[in-house]
């Protein structure tokens, strides 16, 4: 269950390279172990953020003011492609990211965002490019406004863009719903489905106990 999301006005950082995969967002070594939550923020984009000697790469946008304090990412095409690792979303959330605007996302990453209270917004590439250009012109000083209820983005210079979002996911973010609890309320339906499915496809429900 995550924090409800409604309106946000925040510094946005453009990361426009295409096909940024979840391996680049968080390296696997950082996710191996059972108690990694809460320690991942500093490892987000590790390969881009740090030089081989471990020091910060001054060239990387999130190491520069004011982008260091960004809560919104404006991203190139196919952001979050690759591995299903939800740790990629955790690391972004832990570094303070609350929304990501792009022309397209990896499908599993996209779903993982909603599970963790991050709003991924899909808009046309022209809008994404326009937002990135405006951020650059205002050198990060102009903030981006996001209104989830009204489904609008306000650009740094005040241009309004509307966006589409799956109503069920919008509702989930607005209210910070726990999907497991909601689905368990339908447990009678799940069990009824299984009972009739056992008749229709018994081979699915018949499994041997040992190899």
């Amino acid at each position: 269950m995550s924090k409800p999301f409604n309106k946000l006005t925040a510094i946005a950082a453009p990361i426009m390279r295409g096909n940024i995969d979840t391996d680049v967002i968080i390296r696997i070594e950082r996710l191996v172990g059972n108690s990694v939550r809460g320690t991942l923020g500093k490892w987000a984009f590790g390969a881009l953020r740090y030089l081989p000697d471990g020091s910060e790469n001054p060239e990387f946008i999130l190491n520069r003011e004011p982008y260091r304090r960004a809560e919104i990412l404006v991203t190139g095409p196919n952001f979050g492609c690759g591995s299903s690792r939800e740790g990629a979303v955790w690391s972004l959330q832990e570094m303070g990211i609350r929304a990501i605007i792009g022309s397209g996302f990896g499908d599993i990453f996209f779903a993982n965002c909603f599970q963790n209270g991050i709003l991924p917004i899909v808009v046309d590439k022209e809008i994404v490019d326009g937002l990135a250009a405006e951020i650059e012109i205002t050198q990060g000083a102009g903030r981006i406004g996001i209104d989830l209820e009204g489904q609008t983005i306000t650009s740094p210079t005040g241009k309004k863009h509307s966006f589409e979002i799956d109503p069920r996911r919008r509702e989930g973010l607005l209210r910070g719903l726990d999907e497991v609890a909601l689905t368990l309320q339908r447990d009678d339906e799940i069990r009824a489905f299984q009972a009739s499915d056992r008749e229709a496809r018994p081979w699915i429900h018949f499994t041997r106990k040992s190899a």
């Binding site: 995969d21 499908d107 497991v180």
Partner: protein, 462 residues
Amino acid sequence: MLAKIWDQHVIARLGDDTDLLHVDRHLLHDLGGSRGLLDLKSRGLSVHNAELTFATPDHAISTARGRAGTIKIGQELLAALRVETSASGIQMFDIDEPGQGIVHVIGPELGLSLPGCLIVCGDSHTCTHGGLGALAFGIGSSELTHVLATQALIQRRPKTMRVRFEGKLSLGVTAKDLILALIGQVGAAGGTGYAVEYAGNAMCEMPVEGRLTICNLSIELGAKMGMVAPDEKTFEYLRGRLYAPQGEMWGRAVKAWRELPSDPDAGFDKEVVIDVTKIVPQVTWGISPEHVIGVDGRIPDPEGIDDPARRAAVETALDYMGLKPGAAIAGTPVDWVFIGSCTNSRLSDLRAAAEVARGRKVAAGVRAWIVPGSETVKRDAVAEGLDKLFTDAGFEWREPGCSMCLAANGETVAPGLRSVSTSNRNFVGRQGPRARTHLASPAMAAAAAIAGAIADVRTMER
């Protein structure tokens, strides 16, 4: 076909094309399995259907002899998986047992993955199982907990895309080459939002293990799901497997499976036709699977690219890979060869590599690993003498697991070194920090090991 399988699994319609779906098979591995079970426990919940859930360690275990070199965290994850699956009544296939292996290799091999099945796993390459006509896809950690708690999952129905591979494969061209060529053509986001069905006469003729390889790389096309219609080859592959239906049940199941293929007049939201006769053995040059060319091709030159974003992407990739623009890709010296992963670690893959390696030697200065996908693959390969063939040629023969594909257990390519790999991702740092990965088929990888450089396997065919 997507619609048929999808509709059979709808427990409740939630509106806006979003449904609550029944999960038939939930596969757990060491990296996320125990975490999910512990998460469930912390919520005071229990596993909804332990008998439909199966586990095996693959990601974080060492593939060294005797598993020497499994890092501390890997040992802890394995121990936790043992404890939590046992407490929950979940079948686990432990190391050194038949059934252990890469989760996407053992599912089909054990007959756990069946046509028409809805299969999920906390791993993006779950799309592999679509090669048997299953609807299979990767999920995140939160969804994994949801499935453990409810045996169901909330999903929005994807759009459909059909890829028709038509024509006869040329010499040296394999399933891996077809799917890499497709990704090169439509891009790493070309399938985003779609469930892809692979069809065409080249798919009908392709053995099941090749279909698994093709479906495995669907996620590299951006598609969460990939599938091939089940046919007689599928049924023959599954007949007699441990968890496949037996006796009278087998006949009933096959009858149902014959209904699954798309109807002749089925419509798709997008369609791509690939003439496979034009495809040569493929190799990637960059940091996305879409950065791929024929082995007879040249490394792209950013000078000739007008679009500034594309030019910058090529420059970044070439800089990371340390390659010279415009040079021939063949002849690029390699340090490492990795043959394994859920893409290409099945018996047929090892046989293809062995065919190239037989009677030859790995080039001096090259380390080459063979990592079978499962304990069963390992035992079958040993029974055929492939282990000896490989070790005689100078390859290292390893225990089954994910190994260097995602490098979660310290099995990495050192910074700056160049690897030819049969795995699925050439991402920045995927095989280790600053490691450089070229994706290729098992035969191409074996050829690179022998030549000490990226080589055209067609010149080494016998």
